[in-house]
């Protein structure tokens, strides 16, 4: 907009003296060199941008019809708001609008502005009304896409800016159909689970939703239980996992559980026992390929020096870590260290070669569990060998 006083300077010399005195110098020297900004050009550019915005809105809501645009309506809107301005401010503004409306802001432009603004207002009002009256969809598991959309910007910030996650092997995650991601678990709080799901959501061409299976302590914690369910995740039971895989979903498990997430700093990157092999049973029962996943960088987000069994049992926590900042700094102790993360998706291990009755073959189940554990451990070692710095990668 800094080019406007320059363009219209000749016609409205009396207007907005303050902006004239300060503005003309830089645009006069820059404008001709940087962009040959004839009024028509700018006009077109602005109209183009607006047109794109209108297109986007139309794509979002094909059946939205803006309230009819009229010159009178727009004028009424202006004059209504003009009453709220002081005369000293209002008069120059009107004069300026009159002088510029002709060439810079033609009727089409106004129409576009009208469309976008009224759509935004309408959709906000509709959204609130819909949520209040219960008119929104969740699936039977409780997944609420609008909730995911609402928190997605924060997750994207963590993923792109805070931990600068780098991934490899996304092509190993199936385009469609069932699949079981099996990953190491670390970092005191389950941020690694959140980031693996975000990685698949942001980087996978099909934008797949990962159904993470979480431990049974979370349902007892207010807000966490609700948020996890609304994000499409569910409790880690063999029943739930099998059912999700049968629905051809992408499921993620962290078989180390609390033993993994609550590791002390000196034990970092040493995998704990992989549960009781429940994930292998799920994969065998549904013939889903197992995709080993390694997360490197999450171990250093909190530095757990010791664990207090007494406090944990008093609070009913599965474990209670003591870090340099927690619990000493209170809520500040929850802030993770911005390490550099690597998430590697390994080659899928197919289950189709085993029959469905392999499920009851206990030796096979435990062999498979160990095999997957070794693969994940190897992937971690490979990545650690390449990593030069914890914070910079």
């Amino acid at each position: 907009m800094d080019a406007v006083p320059d363009d219209s300077a000749g016609e409205s010399a009396t207007v907005v003296t303050s902006s004239q005195s300060s503005a003309p110098e830089p645009p006069a020297s820059e404008a001709p060199a940087a962009e040959p900004s004839a009024p028509g050009d700018l006009d077109e550019q602005f109209n183009d941008e607006l047109g794109k915005m209108v297109e986007r809105v139309k794509k979002l809501a094909p059946d939205y019809v803006a309230p009819p645009f009229s010159v009178k309506g727009a004028q009424a809107a202006i004059s209504e708001n003009l009453d709220r301005l002081t005369p000293e401010f209002g008069r120059p503004l009107l004069v300026k609008l009159r002088s510029t409306a002709g060439d810079f802001l033609d009727a089409d432009t106004w129409r576009g502005v009208w469309y976008v603004v009224s759509y935004a207002a309408q959709s906000q009002a509709d959204f609130i009304k819909r949520r209040m009256s219960g008119d929104y969809a969740t699936d039977d598991w409780g997944f609420d896409r609008e909730f995911l959309d609402a928190v997605q910007p924060f997750l994207t910030f963590l993923y792109r800016t805070y931990w600068r996650v780098e991934i490899t092997g996304m092509e190993n995650v199936p385009e469609s159909g069932r699949g079981l991601l099996v990953s190491n678990h670390s970092g005191q709080l389950p941020w690694d689970g959140v980031m693996v799901a975000t990685a698949v959501y942001l980087e996978h061409p099909a934008q797949r939703l990962v159904r993470t299976l979480y431990a049974s302590w979370f349902p007892t914690v207010p807000f966490f239980s609700t948020a996890f369910v609304k994000l499409g995740q569910t409790l880690a039971t063999v029943d739930n996992g099998t059912r999700l895989l049968e629905e051809d979903q992408l499921v993620a498990v962290y078989p180390e559980g609390y033993k993994g997430v609550g590791k002390l700093f000196r034990e970092r990157y040493q995998l704990a026992r992989f549960g009781r092999g429940g994930f292998a049973k799920m994969a065998l029962a549904t013939q889903s390929p197992i995709i080993p996943v390694s997360v490197v960088g999450a171990e250093e987000t909190y530095i757990s020096l010791a664990k207090s069994r007494v406090v944990a049992s008093l609070l009913g926590f599965p474990f209670f870590p003591i870090t340099p900042t927690f619990p000493w700094l209170g809520p500040l102790g929850f802030i993770p260290i911005p390490t550099k993360w690597y998430i590697d998706f390994g080659e899928p291990i197919p289950m189709a070669e085993y029959g469905r009755d392999a499920l009851d073959h206990l030796v096979l189940v435990s062999q498979l569990t160990d095999e997957v554990r070794n693969v994940v451990q190897q992937m971690i070692h490979q990545r650690l060998a390449q990593r030069r710095s914890v914070l910079l990668g």
Partner: protein, 365 residues
């Protein structure tokens, strides 16, 4: 009249028994006998009413005499807290009746239970299957009796293996004219919920509960079945569909305050007609067996059932006696949608039958 099936309904004077009796009386080829300890408030057409208690030992002779094939046991005090009196009616009554049925040669028993018997626990799977252990019933309501009866049923089936015993575990029943913990919860003026908890819930429309019982009486489907309307909904959505504003309470305060206020004689049971865990943890039942083995499809979806309930409650504020819902556009829209769905379902089930027949004849060829 000789080859008619004879159905005995206990608790037929009011409640579920009266509703089922009224529904089955319309079915041709069925003779419906109702028994209850008290007289019915109004006479039902097509129902032979006999005043008798289910614990009466002479019931064996009566059932032999009347050649009863099917017993639907609905004499159950579900809205009263646990006491020796209700325990005697609910649990001992069921045991005695089951024994009498086995002795009188009754071949089928239908029993209505509740999905609350699974209990609400943090480690519950998202969909609870029928064969899971029943962990509910620690609280002082009739759920405890149901768990006891279901445990008894297992032993009873070992003694009388030829008995066709159908147990319908119904989800929270809602409806304009029924009194259940869920309708009390959604009908009270203030509905406190636990801050930060939003479990998934299932509901069932009252008409569908009766339809499920009738379905079980009309065809032989031994076993235990979960019955609920299509769609599990988060509690917050249930509340907003019912037009309620939730008042969040910190859960620790609620857990500690609840017995305290109860001891003081405050009517907290009015706000929380169910144990608090049922508003905190999931207890959604798996409906696969209902759809595939029982072949029963509830007519109302969860959303439709709740919308109808909410509309009726809103109107009751202004017209306490006549529930005139003729002006509710949403209700008519739901009704149209329901009719459409039912027709579609009839067509698909017809197609399934045709395919089966075709498959069989191909097999013969």
């Amino acid at each position: 009249m000789e080859d008619n099936k004879v159905v005995l309904i206990t608790g037929a004077a009011d409640g579920w028994g009266a509703r089922l009796a009224a529904r089955l009386a319309e079915t041709p080829g069925l003779r419906v006998i109702g028994i209850d300890a008290k007289r019915p408030s109004e006479a039902h057409k097509g129902l032979d009413f006999v005043q008798a208690d289910v614990r009466n030992p002479l019931l064996v002779d009566f059932m032999k005499e009347e050649k009863v094939d099917t017993v639907c046991h609905l004499a159950f005090a579900e809205n009263e807290p646990h006491s020796e009196k209700t325990f005697d009616l609910n649990v001992m009554g069921t045991m005695k009746l089951a024994g009498a049925c086995a002795q009188a040669g009754v071949c089928k028993m239908v029993f209505k239970s509740s999905t609350a018997v699974y209990g609400a626990f943090p480690d519950n799977s998202a969909f609870l299957r029928e064969e899971l252990p029943l962990r509910g019933g620690q609280s002082a309501d009739s759920t405890r009796h149901l768990v006891e009866i279901e445990a008894f049923n297992n032993g009873f089936l070992r003694q009388a293996p030829e008995m066709c015993l159908t147990v319908l575990r119904c989800a929270s029943i809602v409806g304009p004219s029924i009194d259940t913990p869920m309708t009390r919860f959604l009908g009270s003026h203030v509905t406190p919920v636990l801050l930060g908890f939003d479990p998934m819930l299932q509901v069932l429309h009252e008409d569908d509960a009766v339809a499920a019982l009738a379905h079980a009486v009309e065809r032989d489907a031994p076993g235990v079945f979960n019955i609920a309307a299509d769609g599990a909904l988060p509690l917050s959505k249930v509340m907003s569909l019912a037009g309620k504003t939730a008042v969040p309470v910190v859960h620790l305060a609620a857990y500690w305050g609840n017995p305290f206020f109860r001891a003081l004689g405050w009517p907290v049971g009015h706000f929380w007609p169910m144990p608090l865990d049922y508003l905190r943890y999931p207890w959604v039942a798996d409906l696969t067996k209902m759809r595939e083995e029982l072949d029963f499809v509830p007519r109302y979806t969860a959303e439709e059932a709740l919308r109808e309930f909410a509309g009726r409650k809103r109107l009751e504020k202004y017209l306490p006696h006549s529930g005139d819902m003729a002006f509710d556009a949403e209700l008519l829209r739901d009704t149209i949608e329901r009719g459409r769905r039912q027709r579609k379902q009839q067509v698909t089930s017809l197609m399934k039958v045709t395919e089966e027949i075709a498959g069989e004849s191909w097999g013969e060829l």
